[in-house]
C-alpha cells in the first residue's frame, strides 16, 4: 500500500522507540540500573513520535489533503474548521490514534509518579500502548489514494455537533486511563511487591472512573439533544461498551478503598483491575470487529482488524491469567472478618451487587456472540437490562442508604435506625409526594423511597463531614448523593414520561393533554442555519415557540432530525419532528391580487396602516408597529372581509401574527410582509391542502435530575481523586510505597 511517508515514518519510529524503551526497562528489572535513563529517554522519543504522527494527521486534515484516504473519507471542503478535529477521530484509524496519543501522554505522567515501581509498571503499560501502535501500523491513517480527489466525502452529519467533537476524545482518555491500574496490578504480581500498588493505582482508577463517567454523560446528552430518539440511554452495544468499563472501574475504586482502609480485597483488586482493562479491550473488539454490524445502531464495520483485536485481547488475557494464576495465592490476606453489621461487610455486599450487575450487562451485550452458535443469533433489547437492573438498583440504593451510618467496628440495628430517623422521615415524605403525584406501582414507590433515603443519608453525612472541615474525605458520600438523585431522575423520566404522536395542520391549534400545539411555519435554511419548524406551544398559561429541525443533508442526502427541548424546573418538553408534508402552504399576493388554495379564494385589497394607531408614527417612535391586511375571503360561497394583523416589536424583533378564523373553517394569518414589493404573504391554515407536520411530543419529568445527579457524582469523584493523590504523595515521600 502507498503511504504518506512522514506519517508512516513517525509511526514506525514510535514502534522502534517503544521497543527500545521496553528493552531499557527490562534491563532495569534484570538489575542493570543504567537502563533507566535510556528507557526514560526512549519513552520521550516514543511519545514525541506519536505526537508528530498526530500533528501530521491534523495538518493533513486542516489542509484538506484528499490524497490521504482518511482525509478523503472524513473531511470535505465545506466542513468547518472545528469539525476537522471531529474528523480526526471519526473513523477507525483516527480513533485508535487519539487513544494512542492520550495513552502516550499519560505515560509521561505515569513515568514520573510511579516511583520505585516505574520499570515494571511502565513495562506493562508500554505493552498496552504497543498493541495500539501495531494496529496503526497495520491500518495506517496515512494510507494514500491512487487518485487525488478534489473534494472529500465529508463528515457524517450526525457527528457534526459540538458534543460529538469532545465526547470521543474524552472517552479515549478514559480508555487510556483504564490501562494504568491494570499495569500497576500486573507489575505488582510480576515483581511480587504486593503492598504499594493499591495506593499508587488508586488515583488513576478514580481518574478513569471520572473521565469515563464524563464521557458517558456527554454521549447521553448528545443522544438526547441531537438524535431525537427521545432518550439518553438505549442499552446499545456501543453504549454498553463504555458503560461496562465504567462499572468495573466503580467496583475497583471501592475495592481499592477497602484495601487501603481495611486491608480487604487484596486479591480481588488484581482481578478487578484486570476486568476493567479487559472490558475496554473486549468492548473495542465488539464494536470494531464487525461482529455487531447487524445489532447496533452505530458500530464500526470490519476493516480487517478483527483478527488483530482478538490477538491483542488474547495476549493480555493470557498474560493476566498467567500472573493471576501463579502469583495471586502469594498475596497475603487479612484473616479476621468484619462484623456483619459493619461498613466493611456492607461495602463488600455493594461491590458484589455492582459486579453482578456488570456481569449481567456484559452477558446481555455479548448476546449476539453467545447466541451465534445457536440456530439463529439474536440480541436482547432494553427490556432485558431494565428488568434485571431493577432489583439491583433497589439493593444498591438500600446499601447506599445504610453505609454512611455504619462504622468499621460494627453497629446494632437499633443504633442505625436511630441515625436514619431524619433521612427516613424525609424519604417517606418524598415517597408520599410521589404517590400523590402519579406513582402507584409499589415497586416504584419502594424504589423512590430507597433512592431518597440514600440521597438523604449521604447528604447528611456529607454535610457533617464538610462542617467538621473534612470535605476532602467526603467525596464518596457526595458521589452517593448524586447516585440517589440519578436513580430518582431515572425513575421519573423513564417510568413516567408521556409521549404522543400528533399530526398538526399548519395554523390549526391542536390539544395534546394539557398542551396546545400550533404548527406556525416552515423556516427555510439561511446560511449555516438549518431548516426548522416553528411550533407554538401553549401550556398552563405559558406560551413559547419551539424549533425542531428537519432537513436533508446536502452532501449525503440524509434526512436529519434534531429535536427541540424546552427545559422546565420539573420536566422537559421534548418535541421531535417525525414527518413534514409541505402541502401548498401559503399565498403571496400584491395589492388587488386574488389567489386561491383549493376552494378558498383570497383577494388582498390593501394594507391597513391604521390598524392599531398609525403604523408610521409607531415605527418612527420605535414602538410596536402594527400593519393589517384587508382581505376578502370566499369559501364555499361564503364571503367575508377579514383583517389579520402583523405586529412587529422593533426592540427585540419579535413578530406576533394572530390567526383569524375563516368563514368556513381554517384560519388565516400574515406570515410575512415585503415592503419593497408591496406583497403580503398569507398562511392559510386548515384549508384545502395545507402543510402537515407530524411530531412526537414527550414530557419527561425530572430528567434534569439525571444530569444534575451525574454532575454531583463527578464532583464527588473529583474530591476523592484529590484526596487520594494527596495520600499517595504523602506515603511516597515517607518512603512507604514499594
Amino acid at each position: 500500500m502507498h503511504l504518506y511517508l512522514p506519517g508512516a515514518l513517525a509511526l514506525w519510529c514510535a514502534l522502534a522507540f517503544a521497543l527500545s524503551c521496553l528493552w531499557g526497562y527490562s534491563m532495569v528489572l534484570r538489575g542493570d540500573a543504567t537502563g533507566l535513563v535510556f528507557a526514560r529517554r526512549a519513552y520521550v522519543f516514543y511519545a514525541s513520535s506519536v505526537g508528530l504522527a498526530a500533528v501530521l494527521l491534523v495538518l493533513l486534515l486542516t489542509q484538506r489533503d484528499f490524497r490521504i484516504d482518511y482525509v478523503y473519507h472524513y473531511s470535505g471542503l465545506d466542513l468547518p474548521m472545528h469539525y476537522q478535529f471531529a474528523a480526526f477521530w471519526a473513523g477507525q484509524q483516527g480513533s485508535f490514534m487519539i487513544w494512542l496519543v492520550w495513552g502516550s501522554l499519560l505515560g509521561l505522567l505515569l513515568q514520573r509518579t510511579a516511583g520505585k515501581s516505574e520499570p515494571a509498571v511502565m513495562g506493562v503499560y508500554l505493552l498496552t500502548l504497543l498493541g495500539l501502535v501495531f494496529i496503526l501500523v497495520r491500518q495506517s491513517p496515512f494510507a494514500m489514494r491512487l487518485d487525488a480527489p478534489l473534494d472529500g466525502q465529508g463528515l457524517n452529519p450526525l457527528l457534526q455537533d459540538d458534543w460529538m467533537v469532545i465526547h470521543p476524545p474524552i472517552m479515549f482518555i478514559g480508555f487510556a486511563l483504564s490501562a494504568i491500574p491494570f499495569s500497576f496490578a500486573m507489575a505488582s504480581l510480576w515483581t511480587r511487591r504486593f503492598d504499594g500498588w493499591a495506593a499508587r493505582a488508586f488515583p488513576w482508577a478514580l481518574g478513569g472512573f471520572l473521565v469515563l463517567g464524563t464521557a458517558i454523560l456527554m454521549g447521553g446528552y448528545w443522544a438526547y439533544k441531537t438524535l431525537g430518539w427521545g432518550g439518553y440511554w438505549g442499552w446499545d452495544p456501543v453504549e454498553n461498551a463504555s458503560f461496562i468499563p465504567f462499572l468495573f472501574g466503580t467496583v475497583l475504586i471501592h475495592g481499592l478503598h477497602l484495601e487501603r482502609t481495611r486491608g480487604r480485597y487484596r486479591r480481588a483488586n488484581y482481578v478487578l483491575a484486570t476486568l476493567m482493562f479487559m472490558s475496554v479491550l473486549y468492548g473495542t473488539f465488539l464494536t470494531r470487529s464487525g461482529v455487531l454490524a447487524d445489532f447496533s445502531v452505530h458500530s464500526f464495520v470490519d476493516l480487517g482488524l478483527a483478527g488483530w483485536l482478538v490477538g491483542i485481547l488474547g495476549t493480555f488475557l493470557l498474560l493476566a491469567a498467567y500472573l493471576l494464576a501463579t502469583r495471586l495465592r502469594q498475596v497475603p490476606t487479612r484473616a479476621n472478618e468484619d462484623p456483619v453489621l459493619s461498613r466493611g461487610t456492607f461495602m463488600v455486599l455493594a461491590t458484589i451487587t455492582l459486579l453482578v450487575a456488570t456481569l449481567v450487562i456484559l452477558a446481555g451485550t455479548s448476546a449476539p456472540l453467545l447466541t451465534r452458535f445457536m440456530k439463529s443469533p439474536g440480541q436482547v433489547g432494553p427490556s432485558f437490562y431494565n428488568r434485571v437492573n431493577l432489583p439491583i438498583a433497589l439493593l444498591v440504593a438500600w446499601l447506599l442508604a445504610l453505609v454512611p451510618y455504619l462504622t468499621w467496628r460494627g453497629e446494632t440495628w437499633r443504633a442505625i435506625a436511630r441515625k436514619l430517623l431524619w433521612p427516613g422521615v424525609l424519604a417517606l415524605a418524598l415517597t408520599a409526594g410521589a404517590a400523590l403525584w402519579q406513582v402507584h406501582n409499589p415497586l416504584h414507590l419502594l424504589f423512590a423511597f430507597l433512592a431518597a433515603l440514600a440521597l438523604a443519608s449521604n447528604l447528611q453525612k456529607t454535610w457533617e463531614k464538610a462542617r467538621a472541615g473534612g470535605l476532602a474525605g467526603a467525596g464518596g458520600y457526595l458521589a452517593h448523593v448524586g447516585v440517589g438523585v440519578i436513580l430518582l431522575g431515572i425513575l421519573a423520566s423513564s417510568g413516567y414520561d408521556r409521549s404522543a404522536k400528533v399530526t398538526l395542520v399548519q395554523g390549526v391549534p391542536q390539544q395534546v393533554g394539557d398542551t396546545t400545539l400550533t404548527f406556525v411555519r416552515f423556516i427555510p435554511s439561511r446560511g449555516r442555519e438549518k431548516e426548522a419548524m416553528e411550533v407554538e406551544v401553549a401550556r398552563r398559561g405559558e406560551r413559547f415557540k419551539v424549533y425542531p429541525k428537519m432537513f436533508v443533508n446536502r452532501r449525503t442526502r440524509q434526512l436529519m432530525v434534531n429535536p427541540d427541548i424546552r427545559n422546565f424546573a420539573l420536566m422537559d418538553l421534548y418535541v421531535s419532528p417525525l414527518e413534514y408534508d409541505p402541502g401548498q402552504p401559503f399565498l403571496e399576493l400584491a395589492q388587488g391580487e386574488t389567489g386561491a388554495i383549493g376552494e378558498t379564494r383570497v383577494r388582498f385589497v390593501r394594507f391597513d396602516l391604521q390598524a392599531e394607531g398609525n403604523a408610521m408614527v409607531a415605527m418612527a417612535a420605535g414602538r410596536t408597529v402594527t400593519v393589517g391586511a384587508v382581505l376578502e375571503v370566499t369559501q364555499n360561497g361564503k364571503t367575508a372581509g377579514l383583517r389579520p394583523l402583523y405586529r412587529l416589536n422593533p426592540a427585540d424583533g419579535r413578530v406576533d401574527t394572530p390567526p383569524l378564523p375563516l368563514p368556513d373553517g381554517g384560519a388565516v394569518r400574515i406570515s410575512g410582509i415585503n415592503a419593497s414589493s408591496g406583497k403580503v404573504r398569507l398562511d392559510l391554515g386548515g384549508v384545502a391542502n395545507p402543510a402537515h407536520l407530524a411530531l412526537d411530543v414527550t414530557t419527561k419529568p425530572l430528567i434534569s435530575m439525571v444530569w444534575g445527579g451525574l454532575y454531583v457524582v463527578l464532583a464527588g469523584g473529583i474530591l476523592a481523586t484529590i484526596n487520594r493523590v494527596r495520600q499517595a504523595r504523602q506515603l511516597d515521600s515517607l518512603g512507604k510505597l514499594t
Binding site: D294, T371, S376, F384, T556, R557, M560, E579
Partner: protein, 131 residues
C-alpha cells in the same frame, strides 16, 4: 452465624442468576427469515433491503410503512414502524427491523429499526453484512 450468611448470599445470587437467565431468554430477539417471523408469535428481528419506492409515511396514524426484500430468497415483507424515521433511511443498503409479525394486518410491526448505510462511520463501500 457467618456460614449461614454465606449460604443466604449464595442462594440470592443463584436466584438472581436464574432470574437473569429467564429474562435473557424472554427478551432475546433472534434473527429469522420472513417466513419464520410470520410463524413465530414473539419478538424477532428480520433484515433485508429496502424495496425502492415502497416507503410511505402515513400522517394519519404516524407510522412509516415500507417493504423489505430478502436478498437471498427475494421474499418480501411489509413493515410498519411507529416512530422516528431513521436519519439515513432512504439510503440504507440494509435495514434490520425488530418487532413481531401481526398476522391480522399481515404486517411486521417493528418497534426498532437499525439502518446500515454505505457511508456510515466507514467510507468504504465494501460493507460486510452478517446474516
Amino acid at each position: 452465624m457467618n456460614r449461614r450468611l454465606y449460604l443466604i448470599g449464595a442462594l440470592v445470587l443463584l436466584a438472581f442468576a436464574g432470574f437473569s437467565l429467564a429474562s435473557f431468554r424472554d427478551t432475546l430477539t433472534p434473527y429469522v427469515s420472513y417466513q419464520e417471523a410470520r410463524d413465530a408469535n414473539r419478538m424477532v428481528q428480520v433484515a433485508g433491503a429496502l424495496q425502492k419506492g415502497s416507503s410511505a409515511y402515513e400522517m394519519a396514524n404516524g407510522s412509516l410503512l415500507f417493504t423489505l426484500r430478502d436478498p437471498k430468497t427475494q421474499d418480501l415483507v411489509r413493515v410498519r414502524y411507529h416512530g422516528l424515521r431513521p436519519a439515513n433511511f432512504e439510503d440504507a443498503i440494509s435495514i434490520v427491523a425488530i418487532g413481531r409479525y401481526d398476522p391480522r394486518a399481515k404486517e411486521f410491526a417493528a418497534n426498532k429499526l437499525l439502518v446500515k448505510c454505505p457511508s456510515k462511520y466507514q467510507g468504504t463501500e465494501v460493507e460486510k453484512t452478517y446474516s
